[in-house]
């Protein structure tokens, strides 16, 4: 069991972290204090052309080593320690650091893949973990309940137009900073409630596309799968969702011919990318995606037999996606609309405003 919550303003208006903190804290019963985290989009408008690398350092002395490594690959525009305060229950296992970097000119036409390779390289050294690597966004996570993690990172100082939050109850690996959600790669972040029974299949499939899984936890594969399907293979969000939670063959057979051809091709090709086991996920993406206008998206999706809850709501230009309706109601008393998406069907909110 875990708690997930996503809030997005579709006009790109920034709002404070207090809403997401209050909402996620209401679901503390779904987590056990062994992991909490947030992703925020629209954080760094003044540096929005730079990749913002949030890196957890096992030892603050590693900072120089990481800096040297980064310098070999990218130009560092600015770096600083991410401000934290002491929170009694959170062990100070890591020091979070942020780097704003850009890619040397000769690599700019493949900058995204270049950054992913770099992040995977740093992660595989052990000691330093790149927890987010997108532009104008960042991930904050640690051991603790979500509200404690928010306190640790002084999140009340930040404003964003799209927030994700997660409270963890680890079941397949120990609780540690790196294992907390969101999992993030470039502009994609994901929070996940569930346990992926197809992890081994997904992981080995991703490895053959060059991804390295280094967080020892199943949820990580979701972020990479989404990156592969949506960014690299340019599948529209709706069809990428059909890959993660495909319709049953019986349903496929009843589809109109052209649709059937597409879905069959997707299932045959991306069978190993199918995510099995119970899941409710919210995926945030900070940039425009294939087939989607605007500057960002938030996608809510559950497994195809809906073994985990997912509730969505809307109020004016704000969309909420959560494990529980109560979490939404805690921050939005009277939504215009509340609904439970059907099993395996994505709910997509698009950010159309300037961000």
């Amino acid at each position: 069991m875990c708690s997930i919550l996503g809030i997005v303003n579709e006009n790109g208006k920034l709002f404070s972290a207090n809403y997401i903190i209050e909402g996620i804290s209401l679901m503390n019963e779904r987590c056990n204090g062994l992991g909490g985290g947030f992703a925020a989009y629209g954080l760094y408008p003044e540096y929005k052309d730079y990749y913002a690398l949030h890196i957890l350092l096992k030892d603050v002395e590693l900072k120089d080593q990481v800096t040297e490594m980064l310098k070999d690959y990218v130009n560092i525009y600015k770096d600083e320690e991410i401000e934290t305060r002491n929170v009694e229950r959170i062990p100070q296992d890591y020091t979070p650091w942020r780097f704003f970097v850009d890619v040397p000119e000769r690599y700019t036409n493949d900058a995204d893949n270049y950054i992913i390779d770099l992040a995977m390289k740093i992660n595989s050294t052990g000691g330093a973990l790149v927890i987010s690597s997108g532009k104008n966004m960042g991930v904050f996570k640690a051991i603790g309940y979500p509200d404690e993690v928010a306190k640790l990172y002084k999140l009340d100082n930040y404003k964003a137009y799209m927030w994700l939050a997660h409270g963890r109850y680890p079941t397949n690996t120990r609780g540690w900073w790196g294992g907390a959600h969101p999992f993030s790669i470039l502009d994609n972040s994901i929070v996940h409630n569930g346990e992926i029974t197809s992890y081994g299949t997904n992981k080995r499939f991703l490895e053959s596309y060059g991804y390295k899984c280094s967080y020892f936890t199943d949820s990580e594969v979701l972020a990479y799968l989404w990156d592969l399907l949506v960014r690299r293979h340019k599948l529209p969000i709706e069809l990428a969702s059909e890959v993660l939670a495909p319709p049953f063959w019986e349903q496929i057979e009843r589809m109109p011919p052209e649709r059937r051809r597409i879905i069959e091709a997707l299932r045959m090709t991306y069978g190993p990318a199918m995510v099995n086991g119970p899941f409710g996920i919210v995926i945030a993406n900070g940039s425009g995606l294939t087939g989607v206008a605007g500057n960002g998206t938030m996608v809510g999706l559950s497994d195809r037999i809906k073994l985990r809850p997912l509730i969505c709501a809307r109020k004016n230009d704000t969309t909420f996606m959560a494990s529980e309706e109560s979490a939404i109601k805690a921050v939005c008393k009277n939504p215009d609309n509340v609904w439970a998406p059907r099993a395996g069907e994505p709910t997509v909110a698009m950010v159309n405003g300037d961000v």
Binding site: T171, G200, R204, W249, I262, G277
Partner: protein, 502 residues
Amino acid sequence: MEMYSSVPEFRVVIDRQACRLCKRCIENCSFGALEWRDNKVKAFDDRCVACQRCVSMCPEDAIALRRMPSVMSAHPIWTENARRDVFTQSRTGAILLASTGNELHERVIFDNLLLDACQVTNPAIDPLREPIELRTYIGRKPRFVELEELGDSVRLKTELSPALRLEIPIMIAQMSYGAISLEAHEALARAAVMRGTTMGSGEGGLHKKLYPYADHIIVQVASGRFGVHPAYLKAGAAVEVKIGQGAKPGIGGHLPGTKITEEISEARMIPIGADAISPAPHHDIYSIEDLAQLVNSLKEATRYKKPVLVKIAAVHNVAAISSGICRAGADAIVIDGFRAGTGATPKVIRDNVGIPIELALASVDQRLREEGIRNETSIIASGTIRNSGDVAKAIALGADAVKIGTAALIALGCTVCKRCYTGKCAWGIATQEPELRSRLDPVEGAQRVSNLLLAWSIELKEILGAAGINSIESLRGNRDRLRGYGLDHTTLEILGVQPAGS
């Protein structure tokens, strides 16, 4: 000179009080082990192969077979079998023939692999309440799907290679008409149709009676090229090139002329009574590029509408060979492990050449992944699949599907007496004698094989459901859901499996 080798392996025990002298056992014994002498049934133990036919047919249950009570002085190295073989060869001066699979290596790695199940954190899925899918496509898959936007709609731009659609990931292996009877062949074909899977024609062509089932038959092209003609290739669901088989890697085949009846001669396209000799290599394949040419010409001949499979025996260098086969254009690679069965093979080859399917499968899957070409070919594992547990484990190790041979024959009545090569199969399976063939009813046989496949499918769904998986593709290559128990470190490493408890 009298030698011990004449002492039989089994003793036929007849309860004289129960026997009502109906002679049914005598009629049924195709090995001549029972005869009518002095107004009673006399058993010739040395001819008995323990096929169980007389036991089953006796209306009074008056016959029992025992292992010969006489024992030899024990020796751990010079086992009875080892001594028997020496006796036999000192008498005949010939190669020892054998049937079925490897008998020397009793250990089966599948038995040391344990499957996983969900507890608490993850709900197990009840297959009686929720759908669990077993459908499998065999063939080349693209690396990604490309779509084309046309106004409001999207269209598929990627063209998919022809694939074999299986409703269950269990196929019936290649067994030739000639090695087995027409009735057995028909039973297997009918069962494949009933369960939405395929059977293999084997290398003996296809009897015209089987053409109605051909869309569920993978037609084989082996080194003898028996029965290969355009209509045969086009009729099949797919074409399979046999390079080798697990029971006799590197060894050809020999169907004696006495078995080439009129019907077999027609299917194999050779004269009646002529020996059907399959050379050890294909005479047009002396290296990998020759295989590529054959694969391509078979695709050309079938107008690129059928997947082409290539079957090899699991030998030491199987991973590198498979990579070559994949790059030669094979849509699927069939890997036949060293325990795979056969109708006839030199015993020394059967027992000593090749490697276990579990290790071969794991290393091929891993190698193709490392080379980034795993999607370009399917892997089919065969040789030791005895139950649905073996099927699940093979798939978790990386197989797309498995093939069963011996298990399907047992479903038809085979008792594994290991005398296929004599052509006297008392159950009408591995024989061409009309009287023996008439003992096997293809319709009833098909029902039994179909039942077996159905039972395994239901069990597979239980296994998947317990593991919290509702579609077979999420078990494929999912070595995380396996644990090794009692396996050494190196074996585990090759299998890519963690030890139990870790």
